[in-house]
Symmetry: C2
Subunit: 377 residues, 2 copies
Amino acid sequence: MSAPFTFEIAARDGTARTGRIVLPRGEIRTPAFMPVGTAATVKAMHTHEVRALGADILLGNTYHLMLRPGAERVARLGGLHKMMHWPHPILTDSGGFQVMSLAKLRKISEKGVTFQSHIDGARYELTPERAIEIQGLLGSDIQMQLDECVRLPCPDVEAARAMRLSLRWAERCRKTFLVQPGREEWGRALFGIVQGAADRALRVESARELSDMDFEGYSIGGLAVGEPQDVMLEMIETVMPHLPDAKPHYLMGVGTPDDIVEAVRRGVDMFDCVMPTRAGRHGQVFSRFGKLNLKNARHADDPRPIDEASAWEPTRTYSRAYLHHLVKSGEILGMMLLTGINLAYYQELMAGLRLAIAESRLDDFIAQTKEGWARGD
Amino acid sequence: MSAPFTFEIAARDGTARTGRIVLPRGEIRTPAFMPVGTAATVKAMHTHEVRALGADILLGNTYHLMLRPGAERVARLGGLHKMMHWPHPILTDSGGFQVMSLAKLRKISEKGVTFQSHIDGARYELTPERAIEIQGLLGSDIQMQLDECVRLPCPDVEAARAMRLSLRWAERCRKTFLVQPGREEWGRALFGIVQGAADRALRVESARELSDMDFEGYSIGGLAVGEPQDVMLEMIETVMPHLPDAKPHYLMGVGTPDDIVEAVRRGVDMFDCVMPTRAGRHGQVFSRFGKLNLKNARHADDPRPIDEASAWEPTRTYSRAYLHHLVKSGEILGMMLLTGINLAYYQELMAGLRLAIAESRLDDFIAQTKEGWARGD
C-alpha cells in the first residue's frame, strides 16, 4: 500500500529494537508507551501535559467511545483528535477486550458479538466490519482488528476456537479497512492481534496466519490478564520469531515497569496500560525507587520530593508530605499530580530503554533500573 | 505600624473603588476575587493555572488546615505558600465560619470554641489567640480575627451577643497578631470582621468599634448565608460609611457574579467564594452568557465553545459537546476544565469591573454585563 505509514528500526540490541513509526500526525519513538485515554481523556490530565511528559501517541477505547459519546457523534464533531485536543497519533483498540471484561449479556457468533452496555443496558452489535467503521469514524491512526479475547487459564479447545474465529475476523477487518475513507490521506494502519491463550502451538499458528495477511503491525493480545509473568514472557518469545521483523510489535495492556523492560528485551515496540494513570488516582507512585503508597502515614512529614532528578517539575518539587496530604484528603489535585508523576516515570523509562538500545547497553540499563526499584528510597 | 502592607485607591466611580494592595509577596489588584483553596489546593486546579487565570491571592481555610495536615506540620514544611507552590499572597479565614457550619459538638464560651473534627471526631479548641497562632504558622499574609458567625435569621439578642463576643475576640486577636513572628517581614495584615446579623444598629456598632481598633482591613461577615440579596446589599450600605475609607473592604463568602457586581458598586474591594470551583465540579459554567448546566442533553451535539472571546484557551476552544461528554462520564478532566472556565470568567469579570471603575463607566459596564447574562447564548 502507498499510504504514508512507515516503521524504521534505527538500532538493535539483542532482540530489542529502537526506531520510529512515522505517520502524517507525527512520529512515534519506539519502544513507546501509550497513555490510555479511555473515554476521550487521559483521566485527570490535560492533553498538553500528556504531551509535555513525552507521549507521542494515545490509546482510545472503541468500546467506551461507541457507547458514549458515540462514534457517529465524534465524527460529527470532527473526529477524536479534534474533539479531545490531541493532534498527535491515536491508536484505538477494537472493543473486543472490553466487551469481554465490561459488557453484560454478550453473545458471540461467527458474525460478531452482541452485548448490553454496562452504562445503560442498551443493546449493541459489534462485527469486524463495524469495529473498523467505528475506528474510522473516530479517525484513529492505528486501528486494531476485532478479536475474541479469552480468560486465562482457558481450555485448549476453547482457546483454539477463539483464536481461529479471531483469524477469520482479522480477514474481514482487513478487507473493510482497505477501503476505509481517509486511510491513505492519514497513513492509517491496521494491526492484527495474535491470540491463542497460553498455548504455544496456537500462538504460533495465529502469528503465522496473521503474517500472511500483511498488516501494518502486529499486536500480542490476551496476555497480562492475571497470568504469571513467566507465562507472558514465554508467549512473547514463542510468537516473536513468527512475526514480520520489519513491522511494529505491540504488547496490548502491558504493564508494570518490570513487564515492560522484559518485553522490550524480547522485541516489543509498543505498550499501553492503565497502570500509571489508575495507580495515580489511588495514591500509588512509580519512580526510579520502585513503588510508593502515598497513603502511608510514613510520608506525612517527609519534605523530600518523589525524585529530585526527574525532568517533570511536580515529581521534582512537591514534597511527599504534601502529596500524602492531598491523597488522604481525597483531593482531585492529588490524582492530577500523581497521574502526571507516574506518566512521567513511564516515559522516562521508555526514553532510557530507547537510548540504552541505541547504545547497545540494554542489559546493563535494565539491571541498574531493577537495582533502583529494589533499593527503594 | 511600619510593616509593608499598603492599600492604594487609584480611582473611584461613585462609591466603588479600584486600586491595589501591596505586600512583599505581591500585589493584589482590587476589586479582587480570591479563589478558595480550602485544604491547601484550589480543587481540581494546578496553582500555575490559577495564577495564569489572573488570581493575585488565594484563600485558605484555617479550620480545614488545622485539622489536616495540621498547622504545626505546615510550618515544619516551610509554610502554606511553599507547601502548595503558591508564592503569591494568601488570605486565611479564622476558622470561625467552618466551626459553625462543619464541626460537631461545638461549644462557645468567652474563652473560645471547642469542637469535634468532622473528619475523625478529634477534639479541638480554637481561641482568638490560637486562631492567630495558626494563621502565623501557616504563614498567611492576610489574617482574619476569630468571630462567631450566627445563622440568619437570628433573634436580636443572640445576634447582639455574638457580635459583642466577636468584638472582644477582635481585641484579643489584634493583641496576639501585633507580636506575631514574621509579621513585619512579610507585611502581614489582620482584618476585623463586622458582624450583627441583619440588624442595622448592630452592624453599625460593630463597624465603629472595629474601626477604633485600627485593623489593616475590614471584612463584612455573616452574609451570603442564605438571606435575600436585598438584605445583603442593605447591610453593606449600612456598614460602609462606618468603615475606614482608606482600608480594604472584604465581603466574605460572596458570591454569585450578580452579588459581586452589586457589592463592588457599594465599595467592596475583596471577595472569596467556592461558587466557581464547586459549580465547576458539578457541571455548571459561568460565562458572559449567564449560567449553563452542561449535564443538559441539549449540549450533546453542540460544537461551539463556551465563549470564543475568552482569554482562557479551554473556554475558547473545547466544544460544549465534549465538555458535556466529560461531565456525563464523570471524568476528572471535566471538573478540571469547568473549574478553570469558571475561575477564568470570575477573573475576567473582576478585570472588567476594575477597568470600568478606572474609566468612570461602572454603571454602564454592570448594565451591559447583566444584559449578557439575561440574553443567554
